[in-house]
Amino acid sequence: MKTFKLENGPKKDSGFKTPDNYFENFSANLLQKLSEEPVAKETKVVSIFRKRKTVLMAIAAVFVLAVMIPIAYQINTKTKEVDTVTLENYLAEETNLNQDELISEIEPKNSTIISKTKELESETLEDILVTNPNIENLVIEN
């Protein structure tokens, strides 16, 4: 088995060669190139005012967005939900239905739900009757 060792034998060179007179020609070409266009290769200078204008425009854009986003959000939520006060007022003023008609319109299924949810616990009812003796008189009268 052959073993390769870098230190064994003469040092290997990279094997790279250059064309004849490459370095003489390279110097001449480069010096000519540099004398022809030294300014063209300079870094482009951007006016400080132009730079400032861009920064100001960016700040203005952020400010406009900061103001517009909450407003847009509010408009969006208002249009989707009708608040209860408006609904009550509308029903009270604009409809031809009276209270009895409204009750009759409610389906029996829904009315049981309402009665169930409105049901008072017996203990609570007792407390009310004990603390308000006038209620008893009113019940008897009716």
Binding site: M1, K2, T3, F4, K5, L6, K11, K12, D13, S14, G15, F16, K17, T18, P19, Y22, F23, F26, S27, N29, L30, L31, K33, L34, P38, K41, E42
Partner: protein, 183 residues
């Protein structure tokens, strides 16, 4: 150091600039060409990168603060230019930089400016497998005969870390070429 300061002053003075830059070219074009060629492998690519390197050196001389040596500053520019060139070339071709390097090594066999034998081709293939930093350290130490202190100034890595990198690189290269020779 004093000599270098005077030389930089001559490079920055418009009256002495042309002559000083010619001296700079004369002293550094060969070592920088070898450094670049070892990284990019093809002569044509090395020619392009060497030209870009000297243009960059010329343009940035006025910004050179003298914090590092002119030598290591120029080598740093050459290294960065070479690596950027390879990455751009790989991106344009839509392949990885390792694939690009392997392609360049295969092209060496037909390159009129390469006179290496089979072992030298195998050596290049073994180097291509190494991580980028180890490749640089190995090439600068083995082919360019730079001192560890000089490589340390160029790459900004401690001498101890460079010695370890070189040692690892040698072991991996020897193992790779040994395996190839016994196939």
């Amino acid at each position: 150091m004093q000599v270098e300061k005077e030389f930089i002053a001559r490079l920055l003075n418009p009256q002495t600039q042309d002559l000083a830059f010619q001296e700079l070219l004369h002293d550094y074009q060969k070592p920088l060409y070898n450094h670049i060629r070892n990284i990019v492998l093809s002569h044509d690519d090395a020619d392009d990168v060497l030209q870009n390197t000297f243009i960059k050196v010329f343009q940035n001389l006025k910004n050179f603060k003298g914090e590092s040596k002119l030598f290591s500053w120029m080598y740093r520019i050459a290294t960065n230019e070479s690596l950027t060139f390879l990455n751009q070339k790989a991106r344009k071709s839509g392949i990885s930089s390792v694939e690009l390097q392997n392609k360049a090594i295969d092209n060496l066999k037909a390159d009129v400016y390469f006179e290496g034998d089979k072992i030298q081709i195998k050596l290049q293939k073994a180097i291509a497998v190494l991580p980028e930093k180890q490749q640089l350290v190995f090439k600068m130490k083995y082919f360019e005969d730079l001192k560890y202190e000089e490589i340390s100034e160029i790459l900004g890595t401690s001498v101890g870390a460079l010695k370890a990198s070189y040692h690892h690189a040698v072991k991996k290269i020897e193992a790779y070429v040994t395996l190839q020779l016994n196939l």
